[in-house]
């Protein structure tokens, strides 16, 4: 009798364990199957590359958040950083007439500076991660709107002093967001390369291991001689840099520097990163999971758009997916021991 009971529990646990490990992947495959059976052209090559392209910005932002999550921090300024970076890139080209290289490098540098400033607030001043980056989010949104005089920056825009902007966004820059190479959109390459680099960084370098150690137990990490502040700084600088990169892709995709365009990507990025926790049962922030989380959201959104669902139903689906993923992760954590 007792033995049988035990057997039952083990069996139950195994089922849970299986879902814990493969649940997110199964949901992704299920969504793919459902949409490909109900919708013509869903699995057509162009639409698949479309899905990848549509999640490229969310995935980059998600990766930025993932890195901040490894040290048990949270960077809420990622969306605002991306929005600001997009505006900087646009202003460099359209208003100031710079070429593609400065227009990419300048926003990335600004992203690094934002990361440094976040780190300064968190490490030196001692403000909680979320609060410091929340303040930065407001600050950056405001600075960005001021920097662009409250209006989008776009080709042939009227200049406040009179006349029309003489310069335009260069073709090479637009290719970052709109171009294709071997039939695959360039932002997809950017996303995949960055995800791979972040994956290698987090899993196969000393830095990555230390970041996870700090996130797991800061005191223990400190006692084992890890320079905590240095690694926290690295995490926030990388987060700022990746957010700015997402902003560059965003500007190239839109062909303009829109007002506050980065804001909606914050929550989607957070969702991607947390869905990523549950992928393969890692239970911690990881690059591969974030990429899959972003893709899952992208697949759902793509299918729902084809089925003419309005946006609030899309939000319901997003919410359910996130809840399921979080449910798996946290249930496992609670019942670990």
């Amino acid at each position: 009798m007792r033995q049988e009971e035990r057997r039952l529990t083990t069996k139950k646990l195994d089922i849970f364990g299986f879902f814990y490990k493969y649940g997110t992947i199964l949901v992704t495959i299920g969504a793919l199957l459902y949409f490909s059976l109900t919708l013509d052209n869903f699995l057509n090559f162009n639409n698949v590359t479309n899905i990848f392209r549509s999640v490229s910005i969310v995935a980059l932002i998600g990766l930025a958040i993932t890195i901040s999550l490894t040290i048990d921090g949270f960077d809420l300024s990622v969306g605002a950083t991306a929005g600001f970076a997009a505006v900087i890139a646009a202003k460099f080209m359209v208003i100031w007439g710079y070429g593609v290289v400065p227009a990419v490098i300048a926003p990335l540098l600004v992203g690094v500076v934002i990361g440094l400033f976040n780190a300064f607030l968190i490490i030196k001043i001692g403000i909680q991660d979320m609060l410091a980056t929340l303040s930065m989010m407001f600050l950056l949104t405001g600075i960005s709107v001021t920097f662009q005089d409250g209006s989008a920056i776009y080709n042939f825009m009227p200049i406040p002093g009179g006349g029309i902007a003489e310069h335009t966004m260069s073709k090479a820059f637009l290719a970052i967001g709109q171009g294709k190479w071997l039939g695959i959109p360039i932002p997809v390459y950017v996303m995949l390369v960055v995800a791979l680099l972040v994956h290698i960084f987090l899993n196969y370098t000393k830095y990555g291991r230390y970041l996870y150690m700090i996130g797991g137990n800061q005191e223990a990490a400190k006692l084992s001689g890890i320079k905590i502040n240095r690694y926290k700084l690295i995490a926030y600088v990388m987060s700022g840099f990746l957010s700015a990169l997402a902003g560059v892709v965003l500007a190239a995709r839109l062909g303009s520097g829109e007002v506050d365009a980065g804001a909606p990507y914050l929550m989607d990025g957070v969702a991607a990163a947390f869905v990523g926790f549950s992928v393969l049962g890692t239970g911690k922030p990881n690059a591969f999971g974030t990429l899959l989380g972003a893709l899952l959201m992208g697949i759902l959104l793509n299918g729902l758009v084809m089925m003419s669902f309005p946006y609030y139903s899309q939000d319901i689906v997003k919410g359910i997916v996130l809840l399921l993923a979080l449910g798996l992760t946290y249930y496992k954590m609670k019942h670990k021991g």
Partner: protein, 344 residues
């Protein structure tokens, strides 16, 4: 009571003599008004603010602009603060009725005229007391103008990707024309897909959504955008697809014009009202209310259809549209003879 009588008398005198005598309600007073906006960014909103500001400056009115930055609670607070500070009139743009009705009632009960743009409040006649105006850009007409342009371009027959933004008063009005007038009349028009992605930052989302639809279907004859923020995203998607699908929309901005001029074969037309005129008319209506003159409960501006084929070779911005479309540049709606006296 006595004050009211005097005001009424003064107004009567003003009307009867058609003289330029400034009504007592506004004469010799340093008027202060508040413009409470749901958001204040983007060409459209900036032109609206500037229109109101320059009209206010004409009459020596002190106009303070409150930008709630999409926060309805902050918007309601802005209105209530204006009541507490005894502003002479309150101008509102956008917002949601549910969140603001309480604050608007307070203003009306305090006798402060409320001139609302793109929103309406269910306030009984007694509370409104002839001091509440609900203005719009004539969204019904803008819907009709833009949608008829689409029907004409398709010769009444074709597959359309339609866009609506549900539960937002102006876009709902535009949609009513589509649903109630266009589709039943021109039965050859088929909606193959409807895109609704809400009001927050729709451009990138609209772009992604249309890209999806354009890669998965080959038989799209036209795209309709109920709001130009969507149209910008649609435009990018159509241009990137390399297809020549015509796009029709409502509202206009400098950015829209730049896009229309770059690819006039894509973005064909957009129905719009000059937002700076909206601001001007709001100020005039507030002045009239303060003067004790009758103001309408509802007022709609006169929209025009901006066609990319009408645009010249050289780049134009919204202020240049006056040269192409006389109705764009100015409106003498609610201009009273005494207002020119007040100017001096």
């Amino acid at each position: 009571m006595k004050k009211l009588m005097i005001t009424l008398l003064a107004a009567l005198v003003a009307v009867v003599t058609v003289s330029a005598e400034v009504p007592a309600g506004v004469k010799g007073k340093k008027l202060r008004m508040a413009l409470v906006k749901e958001w204040g960014t983007g060409t459209h909103m900036i032109m609206h603010i500037n229109g109101a500001k320059s009209e206010a400056a004409k009459y020596g009115i002190d106009l303070s602009v409150i930008d709630a930055n999409h926060n309805l609670a902050k918007m309601a607070e802005g209105i209530e603060n204006a009541v507490i500070n005894k502003m002479d009139a309150i101008l509102i743009s956008h917002g949601k009725a549910d969140a603001l009705t309480g604050a608007v009632k307070k203003a009306l009960q305090a006798g402060i005229p409320v001139i609302v743009f793109d929103n309406d409040f269910a306030v009984d006649e007694k509370t409104a007391n002839g001091k509440l105006v609900s203005m719009d850009q004539y969204d019904l007409m803008m819907g009709l103008l833009s949608q008829m342009a689409l029907v004409q371009a398709l010769d009444g027959k074709g597959n359309v990707i339609y866009n609506r933004v549900a539960n937002v008063p102006p876009t709902d009005k535009r949609h009513r024309i589509w649903e109630g007038a266009i589709l039943p009349t021109y039965t050859g028009i088929k909606v193959v897909n409807t895109i609704d992605l809400g009001t927050s930052n729709p451009m990138p989302k609209a772009q992604t959504a249309l890209e999806t639809l354009l890669t998965t279907s080959n038989n799209i004859d036209a795209v309709y955008a109920v709001w130009d923020e969507y149209a910008k995203g649609f435009y990018n998607a159509i241009v990137a697809s390399g297809k020549k699908i015509p796009l029709f929309s409502v509202d206009i901005s400098d950015q829209d014009l730049a896009m229309m001029q770059t690819h006039p074969e894509v973005w064909k037309a957009s129905a719009a009202v000059n937002p700076s005129l909206v601001g001007r008319v709001q100020i005039r209506l507030a002045l009239k209310a303060l003067a004790g003159e009758r103001i309408p409960r509802y007022y709609s501006m006169t929209p025009i259809l901006v066609k990319s084929a009408d645009l010249p070779k050289e780049r134009v911005s919204m202020k240049d549209l006056a040269k192409l479309y006389p109705a764009w540049g100015s409106s003498d709606a609610f201009v009273e003879p005494w207002m020119s006296t007040l100017k001096k």
